[in-house]
Symmetry: C2
Subunit: 155 residues, 2 copies
């Protein structure tokens, strides 16, 4: 794997456009899909294989919010931004839904790094994250503006 997976805390000065992060894999299954859906997205195509057959999905599909929440966990565990991953805004597209047998694979890339004009101690990084399945099919593109601290003199 040629991608970077640094463990030291990352400050704004440590980020550059094109920098990539490998965020790992997660095996989805029917039980996880239904559990999330019961709590947060109780619709037939996320909860019932039989009812799902007659919907636009043609079978059980994960809620997009489940896919993005799992993606968030993988990002949080693998991109050690100093101060944590704090997003102020996000855009998500779902080219296709995640399915019970999918193994999610998450990779992220820095698209912009912008020091704040008004707050000298911080800046913004635009992070673009792709979630694919084991066949390489693109399930989700997620871009988020994250607040990133600048390196303090002591760090």
């Amino acid at each position: 794997m040629a991608e970077e997976a640094p463990r030291a805390l990352l400050y704004l000065e440590d980020l550059h456009v094109g920098q990539r992060f490998e965020c790992g894999r997660h095996a989805l299954d029917t039980a996880q899909i239904k559990k999330f859906a019961r709590e947060f997205d109780p619709q037939p195509f996320h909860m019932d294989e039989v009812a799902a057959r007659d919907t636009m999905f043609g079978g059980l599909a994960a809620s997009g919010w489940h896919t993005v929440a799992l993606t968030m966990r993988m990002i949080a565990e693998n991109i050690p931004i100093a101060g944590g991953l704090i997003g102020g805004a996000a855009e998500i597209t779902w080219p296709q839904a995640a399915r019970p047998t999918d193994i999610l694979h998450v990779t992220s890339e820095i698209m912009e790094v912008t020091p704040s004009r008004s707050r000298p101690e911080r800046g913004m990084a635009l992070l673009r994250t792709e979630t694919r399945n084991q066949k390489g099919e693109l399930l989700q593109i997620f871009t988020a503006k994250c607040v990133v601290p600048r390196r303090p003199p002591s760090a």
Copy 2:
């Protein structure tokens, strides 16, 4: 409450720009915030009141993904789009984080209604959803493009 809260299934023909939906309230608490965070966004400011004090949040804060997932449930339960709420893309901003004592209040408004040019049986509705707390403070703005079926001759 002057807003509409229809229960009959809604087709594209039933939607119009400016149409509003009242999606109800949900009382957040510390246990819910920590439980979601442990599973999907394991960062100190979402899991530990003491550690959260020294972060940008200054205290325990809900993951933005928790706020949006709870919002999704309230939308799914209160806007009866025929065929379900199926989003292809979403944009989210979080002006401020939800806190353990917040009671979330969700309202939605139709911003655009667009018949599909290539698929005569469906169209797209752009739905803008605000999540506020009991003080009326805006926590989240969430806009999503939803696939909506046109009314079939039999319905």
